[in-house]
């Protein structure tokens, strides 16, 4: 059943046991969220120091959505990840040093300086980087799922989209296409209340999760600040997908806690709204949950910040790309390299592998 979460309502009760996650899984979810926040905080300060060119976009307060959803995906699943979803890259296995090098336009960044901020996907880990035209990647994910179905493979594609992207045609084309062909694809709609400065009321007249049913498949609303709830919704959507039951739209309700990008002071957002959502911070919530289980979260935080400090030092020390290489790679020459498989740390996949 959909979990109703709206600004102004009390956070939903946190289930003590979702049944699918081991203690190690719960720690891992926390770790990925902490890594995402820590890396982005470090990157923001590097941006302010002039070390990150262009602009900088982060997903502060939205860490649960990418961490939780990516955690439900198998190694052979494929991901098209959005710009406030750094934790999905971390779950798949991209190292912090490559991410920080990416932000700074270094040769060792995931795109070797070709692209900035979170516009990347490591092909070796089964990910395809986003473009700025949103939500173009919904169709790409749909096409991946189409190929999986054509080849009879038990695999799934997933992509994340924002509330603003629901207004564009590609959103509708993808939902319709996926429904008509009953494709194994999951659309995670990250509703963070604002598309740049535009609030939801100026974006749609019907909550987009309702549209799923109109196209002919389930839409489910979850608390986007509860990493385990996001995981569970995605896990079930994947199960449906692999069973041949078609796509799912998951609306993860959250709040964009920072500006659209580093330059944006978001004066258009009422302070009270931000404060209210600060109380529902996804990391604090997972921390309370873990503390209840007797986990030493302070030690985990310490470990993560040490890892980020080392990665930042290494990235800062790494070279910029050679200007002479700027013209290379426009076309592929020779046989294309296929996408590789990513990490899939959820313990449930061990059981899945045992079944196979």
């Amino acid at each position: 059943m959909a979990t109703e979460v709206r600004p102004g309502t009390e956070p939903t009760a946190i289930p003590s046991d979702l049944g699918q996650l081991s203690s190690a899984d719960r720690m891992a979810l926390m770790r990925h969220m902490l890594l995402m926040r820590g890396i982005e905080e470090r990157a923001m300060s590097l941006y302010r120091q002039g070390k990150v060119p262009g602009s900088f976009y982060d997903g502060y307060g939205q860490e649960a959505i990418s961490a939780g959803a990516a955690f439900a995906m198998g190694p052979r699943d494929r991901l098209c990840i959005l710009h406030r979803d750094l934790a999905a890259h971390l779950v798949r296995g991209v190292s912090p040093v490559r991410i920080l090098a990416q932000y700074m336009g270094r040769a060792g960044g995931v795109t070797e300086g070709r692209e900035g901020n979170v516009h990347f996907g490591d092909p070796e880990l089964g990910c395809v980087g986003m473009v700025s035209m949103l939500p173009d990647m919904m169709l790409v994910a749909t096409g991946m799922a189409m190929a999986f179905k054509m080849r009879g493979e038990a695999r799934c594609a997933i992509t994340w989209v924002g509330d603003g992207a629901t207004s564009r045609g590609d959103f509708h084309e993808a939902l319709n296409w996926a429904a008509v062909q009953r494709l194994p694809v999951i659309f995670v709609l990250e509703n963070n209340q604002y598309a740049y400065s535009t609030p939801l009321a100026l974006q749609f007249a019907v909550d987009p999760v309702e549209r799923a049913r109109a196209y002919g498949f389930p839409g489910e609303r979850v608390d986007g600040n509860d990493v385990e709830a996001v995981f569970e919704a995605t896990r079930r959507a994947r199960e449906r997908a692999l069973a041949g039951a078609g796509p799912t739209l998951i609306e993860a309700v959250t709040m964009r806690m920072h500006g659209h990008a580093a330059h944006d002071d978001m004066r258009y957002v009422p302070t009270a709204l931000v404060e209210e959502w600060r109380e529902r911070d996804p990391i604090d919530r997972q921390e309370r949950r873990l503390a209840g289980l007797g986990v030493d979260v302070a030690a985990l935080r310490e470990q993560v910040s040490e890892e980020i400090a080392q990665a930042a030092a290494q990235a800062l020390d790494s070279p910029m790309p050679d200007p002479a290489s700027a013209g290379e790679g426009v076309f592929c020459v020779g046989e294309p390299q296929p996408l590789g498989d990513g990490l899939a740390p959820w313990s449930g996949f061990d059981a899945e592998a045992d079944d196979a």
């Binding site: 692209e115 035209m133 173009d136 054509m150 590609d170 993808a174 790679g329 426009v330 076309f331 294309p336």
Partner: protein, 321 residues
């Protein structure tokens, strides 16, 4: 060798590639049960099934976007735009997602977009366009425009086997009008220009249907020796073949059926100005459609699309220069 129409040659090439490589599949509007608006895929569904000859929703962005997704996980989609004009609805997916993918993240996108293009039969403003230049300007996309049946088959095979996004412009006015001997079996035509008729006094450079207009216009031009260079591939552009022709002939007429501004021929003219200037014995002359939409009514359409008489006149003036 069997004699096939340009359209049959395209079907033949596509069928051969599908038989040889199970990753290749066709997707588009009405390509399956109906066999395509122009019947290029007639009978394909019977041979290859409904999944490999896929009738899609009416969604061009969806066609290109899902093809990109299928391609990056190992398929070789061949997308049909019912008319080339409709690629405007898939422009973003092609130019921003497909075209920039390999440069941005070293991920190949082997898709072929078949674009039934061109005018000459009262198709009107939305069924007559020649959109090749839109994609020549966008990095990462190859652009092919065959004129003969043999090249149509060989270049389509080349497009399908290429690891990059390829726009394949098949001229509708050649579908049934042009016939030629076409080798059986699979073969690939190189993405290079072809001397359609050698000459030494003047070269007409063209692609697609304009190759035939150029040949007709200069078949007997007051005894002058007129070369016709068929570009065949616009990206990559065979710069050496163009410069060789300029060196041989010293006078150049460049023909486009497309609207003149920034057309493929404008790029050819710029290339010649930059690198062939010393071989010229006169100005580079362009013949192209004026910058107006392609009108419906036959006399209006004839007035807009370059006719053999226009090419003949341009050649005569340049020969007299």
């Amino acid at each position: 060798m069997p004699e096939l129409t340009y359209l049959q040659a395209i079907s033949d090439g596509l069928r051969e590639e599908m038989r040889a490589d199970e990753r290749v599949f066709v997707m588009g509007e009405d390509v399956g049960a109906f066999g395509g608006a122009f019947k290029v895929t007639d009978g394909f569904q019977e041979e290859f099934g409904t999944e490999r000859v896929m009738d899609t929703p009416l969604a061009e962005s969806g066609i290109v976007g899902t093809a990109v997704g299928a391609a990056v996980v190992g398929m070789r989609p061949v997308c049909e735009m019912q008319f080339a004009d409709f690629i405007s609805c898939g422009f973003d997916q092609l130019v921003n997602v497909a075209g920039k993918m390999h440069y941005r993240q070293r991920l190949a996108v082997p898709i072929t977009i078949r674009l039934p293009s061109g005018g000459g039969f009262s198709g009107g403003p939305f069924h007559s366009q020649n959109p090749e230049a839109w994609f020549m300007h966008a990095p990462g996309i190859k652009v092919l425009a065959p004129a003969t049946a043999e090249d149509a088959k060989g270049l389509l095979s080349a497009a399908i086997r290429d690891p990059n996004p390829v726009c394949f412009l098949e001229h509708k006015n050649l579908y049934r009008r042009v016939k030629g001997e076409v080798p059986e079996g699979r073969y690939v035509t190189e993405m290079k220009a072809r001397v359609a008729r050698p000459g030494s006094d003047l070269v007409v450079i063209a692609h697609g249907a304009m190759v035939w207009s150029a040949l007709e216009a200069t078949d007997d031009l007051d005894g002058a020796s007129i070369e016709v260079l068929d570009l065949r591939s616009l990206v990559p552009l065979d710069e050496q073949a163009i410069l060789d022709s300029v060196e041989r002939c010293s006078k150049v007429v460049v023909v486009d059926e497309a609207n003149a501004t920034c057309a493929a021929g404008a790029q050819v003219a710029a290339l010649i100005a930059e690198r062939g200037f010393e071989h010229l014995d006169g100005p580079v002359v362009r013949v192209a459609a004026p910058d107006v939409p392609i009108p419906f009514s036959p006399p209006l359409e004839r007035a807009v699309l370059p006719q053999p008489e226009d090419i003949r006149e341009a050649c005569r003036e340049l020969l007299a220069y």
